[in-house]
Point group: C2
Chain length 339, copies 2
């Protein structure tokens, strides 16, 4: 039998997304159904009940099957804590580091996070994005080569990850998304979010200011979002575009400089994230001469779950466990994982 | 008669503070009584009623007297709009630019704000702090000399003002205080503000990181406030100290560099603001070799009101109007103001 089912789940701070996946040898992964549920921060301890309420129909129809979860569900406020694996980390090491447990006869794997000393010399953390990096590594052709690649994962806590020779060498996180959201919703810089009208032109004004600042001058540039409005240079409806340009421009110039210390000159990067946000990063990157390719975030994530599934359950080529009878000998977190 | 009374008021966004002041020739200004009331953002248009409710007893006891107000009360959400005066601006020009009006037989002056093109090349604004700069200029001995002085006014929107030859030449604003407050109260960086325990040592760690960053790297450094806690390097109770160090350190290094372009090497600055916050700026400034003298903010502000009062009502030396009979010939906003 070369076909089997599993459940993949992205259980983050604010959202849960579950996918019923059908794996067929040598074919693209097929998502048969999806479910949405509450994020980790909205769950009061009863992760098991919430999970089984959402997938009950799938299990009734198809029988038991393994579950692979990623995201904050593995943090200390999640269902079961999954450790942070040190960089440099290969796909094999990340999968090995998972936390495995059983509930109601189902085998669960929660993917571990990553930690590193980033190019600032400070500790840094990732939880959730490593799944997309696994997907990118599975899909990319050159990950086993010497060529270093920079992957940008725009989001609340934007990640810049350096992948080389099949390993995530290091990464750095910027507070860009969270800071934008706070300033957008709670600061004196933005009067009215409802009238916001995104303008590429105004966004690029912000990028240009940010990419020509000297050290320590973001705080001063941020205030100009207000002063330019009061003095009539910037409309209320364009203030968000300008603020976004300042923050993303600053992130781009600062993170590229940090990563160039690790990998030399950067000519191109891959972007994995929300498409509107990825496009903003693309505009900012291209303004400083770096080519940016936007990858399909959902497709990359599904490649990640597939890679983990194959590592855990395809113990020898083509011999997959029947979905209704998970192997009791499946490797635990201490086992050697073939990939 | 060499003695007279007036009311001074700092009517900002969140607070109103009123002072009943007695001026006696050649003596320090004497504050006889104070009142507190709602900030401009809490007032629904009835500024006059709120004002007279607070000072009714003073007027009943002492008769009419002039009123000098500063702060957001002169903004477009305030009582009466007072314009922004362009820098470079002398004390005379600032006082001339005031908005004067009468209500219930009392003469009011609302001090105008200041605007400039700051050293980033962007428009910048001040409203409220110009009163303290007037006080500083009145109190400082060297303001008519060629020596340029940098005055730091720590607050929600921190101001760095360059004063030379008796004029406020230019200034730059940093979002430091507002950003600290947002990150402290609403971000994932700080878990619990109630357990915060300020540590000079941890604050200086943040300052050191911020003052050694390259351009664009504040966003990455901010995230380390979280990662260092998760990995046990930084306690939850010290996270605020570290965050404060990052932001104030960044403001200091960036603003000094901007101002040095205008005035050459900076060896010392004057600090006017809340004493705990001024002390933080002093620590950060001294760590980068700049001596910082902390001035008494209330005393400086009272010197500012006194300077405005004398400019408006002391038409010739020693001949002050009787407090119960304001001169009808007091100069309006177009008049020449002796100072």
């Amino acid at each position: 039998m070369t076909e089997s089912l599993f459940i993949a789940g992205d259980w983050g701070t604010t959202h849960l997304r579950l996918y019923l996946c059908r794996y067929v040898l040598d074919q693209p992964l097929n998502v048969l159904a999806t479910q949405a549920g509450p994020g980790v921060s909205q769950v009061n301890g009863d992760f098991e009940q919430i999970f089984f309420d959402l997938v009950g129909d799938w299990l009734d129809k198809h029988g038991t099957m393994p579950v692979i979860l990623s995201g904050m569900v593995g943090s200390n406020i999640g269902w079961q804590a999954a450790p942070y694996i040190d960089c440099p980390a290969s796909a094999e090491q990340i999968v090995s580091g998972r936390t495995a447990f059983r509930a109601r006869g189902i085998e669960f794997s929660i993917i571990s996070g990553l930690r590193t000393i980033n190019p600032l010399g400070a500790p840094d953390l990732m939880r959730g994005e490593e799944l997309q990096l696994l997907g990118w590594m599975g899909a990319a052709l050159d990950v086993k080569t010497e060529t270093a690649r920079l992957i940008v994962l725009p989001g609340t806590h934007n990640k810049w990850a350096l992948v080389q020779r099949g390993k995530i060498e290091t990464f750095v996180t910027a507070l860009t998304g969270e800071l934008y959201s706070l300033l957008q919703n709670h600061s004196m810089l933005i009067a009215n979010t409802e009238t916001a009208d995104f303008s590429d032109h105004i966004f690029m004004q912000g990028v240009k200011v940010a990419t020509t600042l000297e050290s320590g001058q973001l705080l001063q540039a941020l205030f100009t979002t207000r002063s330019r409005q009061v003095l009539g240079e910037l409309s209320e409806s364009h203030a968000s575009s300008y603020l976004s340009g300042l923050l993303i421009g600053s992130d781009v110039v600062g993170s590229l400089a940090l990563m160039e210390k690790q990998m030399g000159a950067i000519e191109s990067v891959d972007l994995i994230g929300d498409s509107a946000l990825s496009r903003c990063y693309q505009l900012a990157l291209e303004s400083v001469g770096v080519k940016a390719e936007v990858r399909d975030a959902v497709q990359i994530a599904m490649s990640g779950y597939e890679a983990v599934y194959l590592a855990l359950y395809s113990l020898s080529g083509g011999s997959l466990p029947n979905s209704s009878a998970p192997k009791s000998s499946s490797p635990n977190s201490k086992g050697e994982i073939p990939l």
